[in-house]
């Protein structure tokens, strides 16, 4: 037998040769980096909380949620928040009506039908669409889409700023989110399920609609929820093409201010620090933050649930 080449002679201790402080230090640095995100949330909450509390010490919750007249900057001011909530929901709804069918269909196509080549080309293009700055969508809505809609559908009596074009463009903006995340969810559906369905004589359409989509359902819901929160918080498109009129209306041909548009308008404008109108910005900001937080919490739960199914 040849001479032992092993460095590890029996008996040599397995104890640590030297302490590894570096490893601890690194871990600490990494943790700190991760905590920056917590600090961000703390910062947002801090920025929002104080003025919001002050706001509600002067304006009752009843006034805030119990009336439908909004005009914190008018004289006398009105603090019924519903008009801007309704406008936010309406524009979000229009956006969802545009984005969910189109985005989902595009996702099904990319995940189930497209050849790898087509997918390789189309996904990045969708990503580009996702990267188009929202001012650009706003510009396009205001100077191209609205005039076009006025031409084509004069009976709608569109105002020059209106919820309809803003909503449409917000919808287009979120198509890539819906499409790309749903596609991810569908691609994550194990191939075995598709094969199982095909092997039973199901067609591609049936397999897509009855097996893949239900199996990816919670992922799709998560995608839609994220898209909704993006739509609800979108500022530039609604500021440019949706307008600032804060009137309680359901007519999408009307101009209407969403919550984000209100913040943008009031935030870049008059209200002096400490005045009630100024605090209104923060109260509305808090509301928007809570709404997106709630939606995202639901979405996170959905994603968690669907991960559990296949892992």
């Amino acid at each position: 037998m040849s001479a032992p080449a092993n460095a590890a002679a029996p008996g040599k201790s397995l104890a640590r040769s030297r302490p590894r402080y570096g490893e601890y230090l690194i871990k600490a640095i990494l943790l700190i980096a991760a905590l920056v995100s917590i600090a961000t949330t703390v910062g947002i909450v801090t920025a929002l909380v104080e003025p919001t509390i002050e706001f509600f010490s002067e304006v009752s919750l009843g006034q805030f949620f119990g009336s439908t007249t909004w005009g914190p900057l008018f004289n006398p001011p009105a603090f019924g928040v519903w008009p801007i909530i309704v406008a936010t929901l309406e524009i979000t709804l229009i956006a969802i009506i545009v984005a969910v069918p189109l985005g989902l269909a595009a996702a099904i196509f990319l995940s189930e039908y497209a050849t790898p080549r087509v997918r390789r080309i189309c996904k990045p293009i969708l990503e580009v669409l996702a990267g188009v700055p929202t001012v650009v969508f706003g510009f396009f809505a205001l100077t191209f889409v609205t005039p076009l809609l006025k031409d084509w559908f004069p009976f709608l009596e569109l105002e020059s700023k209106n919820a309809l074009s803003a909503g449409l463009l917000v919808g287009v903006m979120i198509i890539p989110i819906v499409a790309s995340l749903s596609e991810d969810a569908m691609t994550a559906v194990p191939n075995g399920l598709r094969e199982g369905s095909f092997a039973l004589g199901a067609s591609k359409m049936i397999t897509s609609v009855r097996v893949v989509v239900p199996a990816a359902f919670s992922g799709i819901v998560a995608a839609v929820i994220l898209a909704i929160s993006r739509a609800a918080g979108e500022t530039m498109i609604v500021a440019i093409a949706g307008g600032f009129k804060s009137v309680f209306t359901l007519n999408p041909a009307d101009e209407m201010a969403t919550m984000a548009a209100f913040i943008a308008q009031a935030g870049s404008g008059d209200a002096s620090v400490g005045s009630i109108p100024y605090k209104t910005i923060f109260a509305v900001g808090s509301l928007l933050f809570i709404m997106t937080f709630a939606m995202n919490y639901v979405s996170a739960r959905m994603v968690q649930k669907y991960r559990e199914v296949y892992e």
Binding site: S197, L200, G201, P214
Partner: protein, 277 residues
Amino acid sequence: MSQPNVTIRGPEVPNTPGSLDPVFTVEDLSVFYGDYEAVRNVDMMIGRREITAMIGPSGCGKSTVLRCFNRMNDLIPGAHIKGKILYHDENLYGDHVDPIEVRRRIGMVFQKPNPFPKSIYENVAYGPKVNGIKRNMDTVVEEALTKAALWDEVKDKLKQNALSLSGGQQQRLCIARAIAVKPEVILMDEPCSALDPIATTKIEDLMQELRQEYTILIVTHNMQQAARVSDRTAFFTAEVDDAGVRHGRLVEFDQTTRIFTKPSDKRTEDYITGRFG
């Protein structure tokens, strides 16, 4: 030693090769993935109401061949065949043939149990539904589950999610699902490899039952299993051609008893005696 050393508990094979009543006749089949010829020049016949096993080392093309029988390979971009597979004298790859119809007639069970993430009932009812079968669905489901020897275990929880079943139960559910569309043939690709011994025994017993009504083709890594359950065995191996490319080849196809007792090819013998693999 050249004498076989695997337990053979396979059923008696009533058919001599001459008496084989073919459901499929494979003629000079080659299968390609793009340019790569994964399997070359296979000739074999699958007998009605027999269990035919396909064995061989990993990568020799067993799954590839199996998936030709119900045109599952159509789903892989670039996959195509040369040669013919006749199903009752009709070319499976003929122009007018609808692969969806083919798959309805020829069911398949996969290596990893793949129930849909739906209720047990819906899993079984899915096939009949998509095929527009109008019979009373409850009856269909019960019948299929009974045949798959699963009815007693699940009859009280048909609404429960299929993923809550154990691996072995899931695999039997997949068999039930396949049976529910009343196929003539069932293809099985290593149906037990993800299961424990007890579940494996159950599936093997079930296969013996099903053999009364169905033609079964099974791919297995487990020689013992092939020996235990099959009537005929096809032994595949991979050969490297002059250009250094590996191709799957059918080495020997015969009654299981013969393959395991008197293989006519040296490579078969080496494989079943454990000299390689």
